[in-house]
Each structure stands twice: as C-alpha cells, then as structure tokens.
Symmetry: C2
C-alpha cells in the first residue's frame, strides 16, 4: 500500500507538507506543490480514509437503515439517497432492519463504531434512547418525531384523498385496510381515510393487516372478501396490499373497477404494470430519498438549516382500478 510517507520520500518533503497539499490547507510553495503532486500521480497515492477518520473522529460514511430493500417501495428511496450522497462523496453503509428493534439498534451501534457522520433511518422507534442519545445528525425518512429532522409525505392527506376519490367515484360500502399498527405512516393514512368516511356518514369496514409482506397481504385480502363480501371499494394500506386485493377480486370473478374499486398507496413501479393498472396515492419516493440525503448533508456541514421537517405532497394517480368521472 502506498502511504503518505512514500509520497513524502519521493517528493523529498515531510509528510506534513504532503498532507497540506492533498488537503489544500496551510502554506505550500508552488514548486513544492508541483513536486508533491507529481509524486502523488506517479505513485497513484490515495489517502487511507481509515487513518483520516481515526484522527478526525469522523468519516465520509453515512448509515442507511431501511426496513427491507426487497419491499418495492424502498429501492427508490435508497436510490435517491445514494445519488445525492454520491454527489458529495459520502458512502453508505446499508442495512435492512426488518422493522426489528434489536436489529436496528445493532446496526446503529456498528454505524457509530465506524465513525459514520450521519444516519438516515426509516425506523418505527425514533424515540428510542439509541436515537435520542446519538451525537451525530439523524434524518428520519418516511417517519417523523417532534421536530427531529425528517422527510416524509402527507399520509393523512393521502388517506383523505383516497377516501374522497373513492366516494366521488360512487363506492358505498367501503372497506379500509389498516396497515401494521407499529408503522406510523400506515396509521396516518388510515386515519385520514377514516375521517373522510366518518364525515360522509356512510358505513364502512376495517380489515387489519399485520405486515406489508405480499404473503400476509394475500391472507388479508381473502379475509376481506370473506367477511365483507358486499364491499364495493377498497382503500388498501399500500400498493402491495392493493395488488393482493386486486388478485383476489379477479380470482373471485369480481369486475374491477365496475363492481369493486381499489386504491393503493405509494405508487411503486409495479402498480402501473398490473392489469388493470392500479389507481393509487403517489408518494415521490426517489425525491424523498434525495431530499433526506440533502437535509442530512446540510446538518452535517452545519449550514444553518431552514426547514428540518420536510413534508412531501401526495397525489392521486388515476388508473384503471377506479371508475372514470367527469
């Protein structure tokens, strides 16, 4: 491995001078700089980030914690984060938490041990000691807590929108799927939908789902049509759940959207590819990822941050699991 010492030797200067050149700090004579740069070139010297990190007590690493990259909602988020971080030469240590507190805490722990300078986390436990005691900036992605820095979308409004569109399109016996209890955004959108349905005075049903896996979604969908056979509109907890519902509806020979309308949440890439394509409430996940990264960078670089809680608007995407109105 080529070290700063090798460069110093070749250039005939001390390591301090080499350090000054590569970091552009302090005074260095133009001629000296030339010699050093030439040596750096010839030896193809790249400073060891670990040594740097040890002395400075900070690295160029960021911890990114997501529930499960295998859930189609998250790759977009991750990609947004990565792209933005890349622009500022930060690297990501990445982990899947499976919504599991212990796994999450373990990850945070090793992030710290590796001197990461910031964390982006899509956690259900933002108010855990581990987070509260962290001495480095954290951005909560897709989750919020007080005025801790966070990037999320307007779940409640999304739920409201879904219910409104459902009503506007004539469903009368709506069923709302309530996502996992410990996942905040799932509850927000659920509340939003409930609000609108309460205001409408129409009857409605609720189905609880325990996770966002496709497998669980399938059983919930079965349960739903079994329990509430007459339902004519389903507000799903997300697009995965909506997909399962759509499948079950088609399997039962129900006409979508004529007999049952379905609205999902997220707008994952899959949604437009289904047949019929899925109407849904869109969250701009790539942009959210980028923005979370952006916010974290600002926090790290101490530039005074105007807005530490960034809420993205959601939007109804009309496709083919809802009827047309005009």
């Amino acid at each position: 491995m080529v070290t700063i010492k090798d460069v110093a030797n070749m250039a005939g200067v001390s390591v301090a001078t080499v350090s000054r050149v590569i970091n552009e700090t302090g005074y260095v004579h133009a001629d000296t700089r030339k010699k050093v740069e030439s040596a750096v070139q010839q030896l193809n010297f790249k400073p060891n980030e670990v040594a740097r990190s040890l002395y400075k007590r900070k690295s160029r690493l960021i911890g990114l914690l997501l529930p499960d990259i295998t859930n189609p909602y998250f790759p977009q988020l991750a990609r947004g984060v990565e792209d933005r971080m890349q622009e500022n030469d930060f690297r990501l240590i990445f982990g899947n938490s499976d919504e599991n507190k212990q796994k999450e805490m373990d990850y945070i722990q090793t992030f710290i041990q590796n001197n990461v300078v910031g964390v982006i986390s899509s956690t259900n436990y933002p108010d855990t000691d581990t987070y509260l005691k962290l001495k480095i900036p954290v951005v909560f992605l897709d989750r919020t807590l007080g005025d801790s820095p966070s990037v999320y979308s307007d779940g409640r409004e999304g739920g409201r929108l879904a219910a409104q569109e459902m009503l506007a399109r004539g469903s009368k016996r709506i069923t709302i799927m309530q996502g996992p209890a410990h996942i905040r955004p799932a509850q927000d959108r659920f509340q939003g939908a409930i609000e609108v349905l309460e205001e409408s005075g129409l009857p409605y049903h609720i189905i609880r789902t325990s996770s966002f896996s496709f497998h669980d979604a399938e059983s919930s969908a079965k349960e739903l049509f079994h329990k509430y056979a007459g339902t004519d509109g389903i507000i799903a907890s997300n697009d995965i759940a909506a997909t399962a519902v759509l499948h079950e509806a088609l399997r039962l020979g129900l006409k979508v959207p004529d007999e049952v309308q379905i609205i999902g949440f997220d707008d994952i890439p899959l949604s437009r590819l289904l047949s019929p394509s899925l109407s849904t409430i869109r969250q701009p996940s790539y942009e959210m990822g980028r923005e979370a990264a952006n916010l974290l960078i600002q926090l790290i670089e101490q530039t005074n941050v105007a807005n530490k809680n960034i809420q993205f608007p959601v939007q109804f995407v009309e496709r083919d699991t809802t009827r047309k109105v005009d």
Copy 2:
C-alpha cells in the same frame, strides 16, 4: 466517547489487558477478566472499529456493487448478500454502478480506502486492472471471468429452456430479444435460445435492446410488433422486457398466450403478479446473493475453498403467458 483507556482506568489495569479480554487473546486472570468485563458493562464500551481497522489493515466492511437497486432483479440479490454477511458481523458499503465503468472504479477505489476486506460485484468489466490488481477477494455476482470466484446462473441453459418450452408449446415464428451487448448474462441466454432455434430449423427474428430500463423495453416492444407483426412467440431478454412486451401485445389486442406466447427471464416478484402472470425462466436470486456472500466469507477467512465458481440451475416457471401442454 468511551475508549479502551477509560475501561483500563476503571478496571485498574492496562489497555493491553483490556484488549486481551475483549479479544479473548493471551492470558488473563479470571479475577482480572471479571473486573474488566464489569467496567466494559458499566461504561458500555464498544471498541472503535476504525482504530482497529487501522492497525490490522482490515475492517469488517464489505463492498457491494450492483448496477441499479431500482431494477427489481437486484433487491433480492442484495438482501441475500446482506443476510449472510450479517450472520458473520460484516457490514456492507453499498453502491449503484449504473453499469458505468468510471462510477464503478470510483467505488472500488473508496472501498479500498476504507479497508474493506472483500468485494461483491455485479460488473460488466471483471477483467479491468482495478479488479485484477485488487489484493482482497472479489466475488463476481451474476457475472463470470475465468476461474475468478463467481456466482451466477446457467444463462445459456436458461436460453435453451426458454426456446424449448416455446417450441414445445407450438410457436412457429419466434422473436428473440437480445439484451444489452455489454451484459454477459444477457448474451448467454440469447445464445442459448439461438442454438435451440437453429437446431429446430424454424425461422426466427431478433430484436436488439439497449438497456434493461422499462422505458427502453417499451420502445423495443413497440418496434418488435411493428417489424415482426406475425410473431407468435417472444423470448424476452428479462422480465422487465417481457412485461413491456406483454403490455404492448395486450394494447394491440393480441391474445396472450393464444396468439402470442411470452417467456421472460429472472422471475422477479412482479412476474407472478401480472395478468396474465408471466411464464419465465427463474434464477434463484436471493440464494445467489447468499451464496456469493458465503463464498466471499470463505475466501476472506482463508478456509480452503472447494468450489470458487458456483453455478445455479435455472428453471422454467410455467404461468399464463404460455399455453399448457400435457
């Protein structure tokens, strides 16, 4: 930050002794160990990985390089890698290469600067100097090069399978989509399909596609039906392409699978959710990710590795874009 020195002070021993306790090396008196362990507990001491890494010149970090996590084929792979690495307390530095050589080299560079102990890469450029000169083990995932460690599936056999199933199901005017030229596995499966069709003596057509993005796949699909309107069987370069083809076929009012059969490649989660669900050649991507991680761990830990080139079998998954035979 709690350092080893703090622990040493509290326990009334030297840092060397603390180090011996936490690493379980050398001799330590049982009583001393007790005192140290108690101090470690009370102070909640976690050794700084950066300091460790600097001295040992190796970390517990692994570099993972994938083309694009947003492509639904890769999350499974990534998850497999992560799960296996997690079991052995390795962490991942993750990057998207976008099949871009420069970006890839930059990533490898910073991996090295961070003392990663191994790399898993799904690269198109395995024979670049950057890889050849690496002093740490590399496992090529979904790609091969000579007898460099690699984990991949039998693309050629997959192509053959697709063509055989297509023929067995009665398609006579088959079109094969040739994936991006620089992506090896895409070419392998293409070759496999060509072989079988050549053997069959039936005429066939070829459509070239430039990338695996859905957008490009859509234009290729349009071009395909425009140029070869009479085609009655399409062997797509992957499931994304197959999805685009399926959509275009339905849009044109073609009956799938009666008038056109479609076979994809990969078996991404989306495939079974389409309507009609997509028949495809399955690669066990999660297992491949796990196995790549497993192989890399063996390589890192120097246990003598029996087989450094692990080929996974592929398998035809019969769904609804192909006709039934019996």
